[in-house]
């Protein structure tokens, strides 16, 4: 059975470290499939103006296109060129919850993410997405420095 490893990217340099670690791990495991995921932070429980609502679908398409072109596709192409079997996914939602949900949906055996780059008040209050993921994920999580 093929092992599926999920790599969570956040558009920063730490994502590169996560990819490098995943490649190393995949090489050791052998038959392995990689899933490159980028989650666009979004909550269905925010407040918006009517105009923002009317433009929302358009914005969503733009956000997905941007994340796909700038982050996911380059990573997928680079990994494919290196001979790995790779799939890319972009989705909106809470980063930790969505990353875990995608892993469970696709039968992933573990998640690899870069160390959180966010800091400040929000992190102190709610914890970073990485912390939330480590606390609540259904599969083992590796956080790469």
């Amino acid at each position: 059975m093929t092992t599926k490893i999920v790599i969570g990217l956040d558009g920063t340099e730490t994502g590169e470290h996560a990819i490098a670690f995943a490649k190393d791990l995949a090489g050791r495991i052998g038959t392995c499939e990689l899933l490159v995921v980028y989650v666009i932070e979004w909550s269905p429980f925010t407040f918006q103006t009517p105009e923002e609502n009317a433009l929302r679908h358009k914005r969503r398409e733009e956000e997905i296109e941007l994340a796909t072109n700038r982050i996911v596709t380059p990573a997928v192409e680079a990994l494919t060129a290196d001979g790995y079997t790779v799939q890319g996914i972009v989705r909106h939602g809470d980063v930790a919850e969505t990353l875990n949900a995608i892993t469970v949906e696709n039968g992933g055996s573990q998640i690899i993410v870069g160390r959180a780059s966010a800091d400040g008040f929000k992190k102190r209050l709610f914890g970073s997405s990485t912390q939330n993921l480590v606390m609540h994920a259904d599969v083992p999580v590796t956080v790469v420095n």
Binding site: I40, W42, P44, F45, T46, F47, Q48, T49, P50, E51, E52, N53, A54, L55, R56, H57, K58, R60, E61, E63, I64, R91, H92, G93, E97, T98, A101
Partner: protein, 516 residues
């Protein structure tokens, strides 16, 4: 940026020059008020004309009958699908693959921020002040029945909206009137749509703008001391202009985030006052029920209470008016009817919960003066409303009621009123704009014309007296309801088909909850 800079300089200049100009033109407010009252008089008289031989305005009957018809036609949909509506708002039925689109919660919150506001604070005080506690009973009845009207119009709003190639959407009664009537082979859809759009523009300028500016000015003047209304109007107009024309989204975003918390704070304060006076809750409800059927001595008796209750409920929750259909049509759901279910929560939250809270606080804190001999309410000197402590009415009555329990609350309420007024203006500027673009087409220059007119009316609203403003605001919003409800009677069978199909698929499990 240059434009914004000039605007800020204009604001500062207006504020500095205002006191001097006020002395030069002492009668400006009066002149605006008189001209406005003369101009709008015939329209207002027509909308509020009573049934021949009675004092019952035909428009109130029109709305009550409509809400009752929709309630019966959809077999009490507001009760049967209440729990399902809450599940939808919670996101239980939302496909994770659609994440990032406007959620049911967001559509509900946006529509609520357009309706929850002065109607709940000032409107209820007007209803209870004129119609007595009994008006509360009729307001609740109107809220419960109105849920079915809202369900009908919002389902149609989503079903017949326009989706453009660039991914944006436009929806609302004008679209379901023209497209829905065409689909059913009925004539006159476009005429109705044009009529509705005209009234929607007037409603946006009236209830969605002038009434808000007027009450915001009263609140600010109550704290700072009296000064000419047009000054508040100019400052407000410039801020609104910056948001809707200048694209200063940050102001709108902050307002949209602060307003819900203000709403929660308002309800929490009301709850605390009610709990603090728990021993009087029974008495207060006794007054509400007794007043609903006897009037307890108010002007117009039971009918007076009923008219006030229904009138202010309709103004507050806008059920049947068609405005919410514009707000809700932004949701990209596969099932238009789900947006109808969600929207039926609006009159419940707005009227049955929040309006009732306001009324209970006014009654419990005994702001309305009772004649100790008869037990009936005493009328004021003019004989057209109940005498109140310190002669308060409108927002000041609500403010006094809350202030009697918490001395600091009037300040919070003043901020809340100004923010509510502002957020309602932003919502209605969008509703009005959608009607405007339906009539004149989309395009930057055309949209700018409407936005400038909208800002001018902010100044007129702040300067005019409450009487003519509230009459025109009500009349314009009810005029929307006349056309909208007429169209809903023809289109309600479309909603019934959607409802039957959805209900059966829900029963068989074809429509199911997603695991999140």
């Amino acid at each position: 940026m240059t434009m914004l800079k000039h605007l800020w300089l204009a604001v500062i200049a207006a504020v500095i020059a205002a006191p001097a100009m006020a002395q030069d033109a002492p009668g400006l407010d009066d002149k605006i008020n008189q001209a406005f009252a003369d101009f709008t008089g015939p329209f207002v008289s027509f909308i509020f004309a009573p049934f021949p031989g009675t004092s019952f305005p035909w428009i109130v009957g029109w709305l009550v009958v409509a809400a009752t018809v929709f309630t019966l036609y959809f077999a009490f949909v507001q009760l049967r699908f209440f729990g399902h509506a809450i599940s939808l708002v919670k996101g239980d039925y939302s496909d994770p693959n659609d994440a990032g689109e406007v959620s049911h919660f967001q559509a509900l919150a946006t529509a609520l921020s357009g309706t929850v506001g002065l109607g709940n604070i000032a409107g209820v005080a007007v209803a209870v002040g004129i119609g007595g506690p009994g008006a509360t009973f009729w307001m609740i009845v109107a809220g419960l029945l109105g849920m079915a009207s809202k369900f009908t119009e919002c389902t149609l709003g989503v079903k017949y909206r326009n989706e453009y190639e660039d991914g944006t959407v436009s929806g609302g009664p004008m679209y379901y009137m023209s497209k829905g009537f065409d689909e059913l082979g009925l004539p006159g859809g476009k005429i109705l749509a044009v009529l509705f759009s005209i009234f929607c523009i007037l409603g946006a300028l009236g209830g969605g703008n002038m009434f808000q500016a007027n009450q915001a000015h009263q609140q600010i003047a109550g704290i700072t001391g009296d000064y000419p209304g047009w000054i508040t109007g100019v400052v407000f107009a410039i801020i609104v202009f910056l948001v809707i024309v200048g694209g200063l989204k940050s102001i709108a975003r902050v307002t949209e985030k602060v307003v819900p918390f203000m709403g929660i704070l308002y309800v929490a304060a009301a709850l605390v006052i009610i709990i603090m006076n728990a021993d009087q809750i029974g008495w207060a409800f006794g007054q509400i029920f007794a007043g609903a059927f006897t009037g307890l001595g108010v002007a117009g008796g039971m009918v007076g209470a009923l008219i006030q209750g229904f009138r202010r409920a309709a103004f507050s929750n806008e059920a049947g008016v068609g405005s919410a259909a514009i707000a809700h049509s932004a949701v990209r759901t596969k099932e238009p009817i789900t947006e109808g279910f969600v929207s039926l929560l609006e009159p419940f939250i707005d009227t049955v919960v929040i309006c009732t809270m306001t009324a209970l606080v006014i009654i419990i804190t005994q702001q309305l003066i009772v004649d100790p001999e008869t037990g009936n309410y005493m009328l004021n000197e003019a004989g057209n409303a109940i005498a109140t402590v310190d002669g308060n009415s409108g927002v000041s009555l609500t403010s006094a009621a809350f202030g009697s329990a918490f001395s600091w609350f009037p300040y919070v309420l003043a901020i809340a009123v100004v923010l509510f007024a502002f957020s309602t203006m932003i919502s209605w500027s969008y509703y009005g704009l959608k009607a405007w673009t339906y009539l004149f087409g989309e395009g930057h220059a055309k949209e700018l014309v409407f936005k400038v007119i909208f800002c001018i009316f902010v100044v007129i609203g702040a300067a005019a007296n409450l009487g003519p403003v509230i009459d025109f605001s009500d009349a314009a919003i009810f005029a929307m309801a006349v056309v909208n409800v007429f169209a809903l009677y023809f289109l309600m069978k479309v909603v019934r088909e959607e409802l039957a199909s959805y209900a059966s698929r829900l029963k068989t499990g074809e429509i199911r909850k997603f695991e999140h």
